[in-house]
Amino acid sequence: MNTMNPVIDQDAKVEKAPEPPAGNGINDADLEGRTVGRPFADAPKFSLRDVEVFYGETRAIKRISLDIARNEVIAFIGPSGCGKSTFLRCLNRMNDSIDICRVKGQLQLDGHDIYDPKRDVVELRARVGMVFQKPNPFPKSIYDNVAYGPRIHGLANRKSDLDDIVERSLRGAGLWNEVKDRLDTPGTGLSGGQQQRLCIARAIAVSPEVVLMDEPCSALDPIATARIEELIAELSESYTIIIVTHSMQQAARVSDRTAYFHLGHLVEVNETNKVFTTPQHPLTESYITGRFG
C-alpha cells in the first residue's frame, strides 16, 4: 500500500495537489483533528491541544488533541513512522536536543504550559520520567545508576536516605532481590531484561508523577517482557504511564486506554477493550486485524 510511504505524502504537499488517500480511501484532511473515540478526560494530568511537530519542513505530528488522565496507563500504537515516539518525546521535551525539531500547540502538565520559555526543563523531567527502547544504564555501578537522579536533584541529605531511595526504587522495579548483593558491580553487566528494570528503577528513583516508556520491551525476550509488563501493572497504582509499543497484545494486556496513530494523525482513542473488540475507525480495524503495520 503506497499510502504508507511518507515520501509520497511530502511530494503531494510540495505540489499543492490534493492530499493522497491515507488508506481505505480516506484523505489526510478527513483525519486531521478528527480523532474518534474518547480523547478527553476530566481534570487530566496532561492536556494536549492541536499539537504539531515539525522536523525541518516535514510535519511529523498533525494537530493532535488528547488528554491523559491521572494514574491511567495509556498505550500508543501504530505502524512504524506514525509519530507515536515523536509525540511521546514532546511530553518531557526530549525533542529539544534535536536542532531541527519544532513543537506547536498547547501542551499542559497539571494546567501549566510545558513549552513555556520560562519553564524549567529540569523540573519537568524530574516529574516526567522516561524509559527508552534500548536499555541504557550508565557505565557505573548499579547503586550509582539508581542514585544518579536523586543526587542531581538533591533528594537525599544523608547516605542512609540515599540507600533507602535506592533500595525502594530497586524493589519497585522488581530488581532488588537479584542485585542486592552486588550493588557495586557495573550496571552494564546485567542481562538485557535486568538492565531495563534497572532503567525503570533509575526513572522512579526521582519520584516522578509520569513515566514515559518508549517501546520498553522491544529489545527483550518474552520472559523479560512478561516481567516488565507485570511491573507496569504494579507501577500504575502510583504513576501515570504512557507506553509506546509495537505489540498490540502488550497494549491489550497493560493499558487502560489505547491510542492509534497513523501517519502523524491520532485516529482513534478509547478504552483498550473497545479499541481491540469494536474499533470505530476503519483504519484502526485494518491495523489491529493485521492488514498493515
Partner: protein, 462 residues
C-alpha cells in the same frame, strides 16, 4: 643500459608476460570447453607468469645495484701496483676518490701518478661492462622466467594458490621491513649507549645533577672532564612538557566538549577545521613566535612585577608548545566524546540532568579512556618536541623548576651534541645516544601505559 631505463623495461616485460599468460590460458581452456575447466582463473595464470618474470629479475637488479660499486672498487684497488697499495681504510678511500675524480673528469690525469690514471680508465671500463652485463642478465632472467611460467600453464596447475602464497610472502616482507628498521634503530642506539657507559658511569649519568658535555680534545686542555648527569635535562623536559600539558589539556578538552556538546552544526563546521589548522603550523614557526613574541612578553611582565626573569624561559616554550598540541587533545577527545552513544545522553537528560551534569557525570567518565589515550599521545609529542625549546628556552642545562629560568631538554641536547664537531667516539657525542635511548624508553613506557589504560576501561559502555 642505464638502471633508470632498465626498470621501466622490466615493468613492460612483466606486462607482456601477463598478457601472454592470459592469452595462453584462454587458448588452453577453449578446447576443454571454457575457463571453468581450468583449475584457476586465467587471471591467476597470467599473474603467475608476471611474478616469475618480474620477481627474480628485480631481485638480481637490486642486488647488482647494491654490490656493484664495492666489487668494482676492490677490483680497481687490487690492480694497482704494490707500492701504491693503500695500507689503511682511510688511505684506500683517499686513493679511490682520487681515481674516481680522474674518471669523472674533475681531475686532469696529468696531475696524478701514471698508475692512478690507468686505474681510472679501468674504473670507467669496468663500470660500462658492469652496466652491460646487468642489463643482459636482468632481461634474460625476466624473459626466461616468463617463458618457463608460460610453458607451465596447464589446466591441472592451481595457479591461484601459488599466486596467493607468493603475495602473502611479499606482504609479510613489507611488514617485516618496518619492524626490522625499528629493531635496527634500537640496536644501533644500544651499541652506542654501551660505548658511552664504558666511558661514563651509570651512576653519574642517572644521578648526576650537572650536565656539561665538554670533553677535552687535547690532553692538556683546561676543563678537560665533562659532566654527564642527565637529571637537569629530564627535569627541564618534564618542566616544559608539564607547562605545555597544563595549557593543552584544559583548553583542548574544554574546546572538545564545546564542539561536541554545545556548538551548533554550523559552528562546529567552522571551528573544528580552524582548530586543526594549529596542528599544521610548522614547529619552527611556533619557535620564533615563542622566541620573538611570547618570551620577551613574559620577561617584561615578570620584570614589571619585580620578578627576575630571563628572556629565554621554560614558561615561554611550554606555553607555545601547549598551544601547538591543543589540536591533538581536542581532536581526539572530540572523536571519543562523539562516540559515546546518544542513549547515554538521553538517559541522563531524561532524569532531569542539565547538559553540564550530563557531561561531567556521564559522558566524560564514559569517554575517559579515549581522552587519556589522546592526552598521553600529546605528552609523547611534547617530550619529543625540539624546535620550540631550542628557540625559546635555550641551551643552558640549569637544574631548576622555576619556569622563568632558561632550561634545556633531552631532545635539544641530542641535536646540539650531534651537530658538534667532535670525533664520533668521544663521550660527548656518544652521550646523545644514551639520551636517545632514555627518551625512547620513556616514550615507549608512555605508549604502553596509554594502551593499557585504553584497554582496561574500554569495555565499559560497549
Amino acid at each position: 643500459m642505464q638502471p633508470g631505463n632498465l626498470f621501466p623495461l622490466v615493468v613492460v616485460l612483466i606486462a607482456i608476460a601477463f598478457a601472454l599468460g592470459y592469452a595462453r590460458s584462454r587458448a588452453i581452456a577453449t578446447p576443454l570447453g571454457g575457463i571453468r575447466h581450468l583449475k584457476s582463473l586465467p587471471f591467476y595464470y597470467a599473474a603467475r607468469a608476471s611474478l616469475w618474470c618480474g620477481l627474480p629479475a628485480l631481485i638480481i637488479f637490486a642486488l647488482w645495484l647494491g654490490f656493484e660499486d664495492k666489487v668494482i672498487q676492490t677490483m680497481v684497488i687490487g690492480s694497482l701496483p704494490a707500492d701504491l697499495q693503500p695500507d689503511s681504510p682511510g688511505r684506500a678511500s683517499l686513493v679511490l676518490s682520487q681515481i674516481s675524480n680522474v674518471a669523472s673528469g674533475a681531475l686532469s690525469p696529468k696531475f696524478v701518478p701514471e698508475p692512478i690514471a690507468g686505474a681510472a680508465e679501468r674504473l670507467m671500463a669496468l663500470r660500462a661492462e658492469s652496466k652491460m652485463m646487468m642489463t643482459l642478465l636482468v632481461i634474460c632472467v625476466a624473459v626466461l622466467g616468463a617463458f618457463v611460467a608460460w610453458l607451465r600453464i596447464a589446466p591441472h596447475i592451481n595457479a591461484r594458490e601459488k599466486v596467493e602464497s607468493t603475495l602473502r610472502k611479499i606482504f609479510f616482507m613489507c611488514a617485516g621491513l618496518a619492524i626490522l628498521t625499528t629493531v635496527g634503530i634500537i640496536f644501533s642506539v644500544i651499541f652506542e649507549t654501551i660505548h658511552f657507559f664504558n666511558k661514563v658511569s651509570f651512576v653519574e649519568f642517572f644521578f648526576g645533577t650537572s650536565w656539561s658535555p665538554q670533553t677535552a680534545i687535547r690532553a692538556d686542555q683546561v676543563g678537560s672532564s665533562g659532566a654527564f648527569g642527565m637529571i637537569p635535562l629530564f627535569v627541564g623536559t618534564l618542566l616544559i612538557s608539564g607547562i605545555a600539558m597544563l595549557v593543552a589539556v584544559p583548553v583542548g578538552l574544554m574546546s572538545a566538549i564545546y564542539l561536541s556538546e554545545y556548538a551548533s552544526r554550523r559552528m562546529r563546521g567552522i571551528v573544528k577545521p580552524l582548530l586543526e589548522l594549529l596542528a599544521g603550523v610548522p614547529t619552527v614557526v611556533y619557535g620564533f613566535f615563542a622566541a620573538l613574541t611570547v618570551a620577551p612578553f613574559i620577561a617584561d611582565a615578570a620584570s614589571w612585577l619585580g620578578i627576575d626573569a630571563s628572556t629565554e624561559s621554560a614558561l615561554a616554550a611550554g606555553l607555545v608548545m601547549g598551544i601547538m598540541i591543543i589540536p591533538f587533545v581536542s581532536s581526539l577527545s572530540d572523536d571519543v566524546i562523539n562516540a559515546v552513544p546518544q542513549t547515554m545522553r538521553d538517559g541522563s537528560l531524561a532524569l532531569g540532568a542539565t547538559q553540564a551534569e550530563t557531561m561531567t557525570k556521564v559522558i566524560f567518565p564514559a569517554a575517559l579512556p579515549g581522552i587519556m589515550g589522546g592526552i598521553l599521545l600529546a605528552v609523547s609529542r611534547a617530550i619529543g618536541e625540539t624546535m620550540i625549546v631550542v628557540m625559546a628556552a635555550g641551551l643552558a642545562a640549569n637544574l631548576t623548576i622555576n619556569p622563568l629560568e632558561a632550561v634545556t631538554t633531552v631532545t635539544v641536547q641530542i641535536v646540539t651534541l650531534l651537530t658538534g664537531d667532535q670525533e664520533f667516539d668521544s663521550a660527548k657525542t656518544l652521550s646523545a645516544f644514551a639520551l636517545g635511548m632514555m627518551l625512547f624508553i620513556v616514550t615507549l613506557a608512555l605508549n604502553v601505559l596509554a594502551l593499557h589504560v585504553v584497554r582496561k576501561y574500554r569495555e565499559q559502555y560497549e
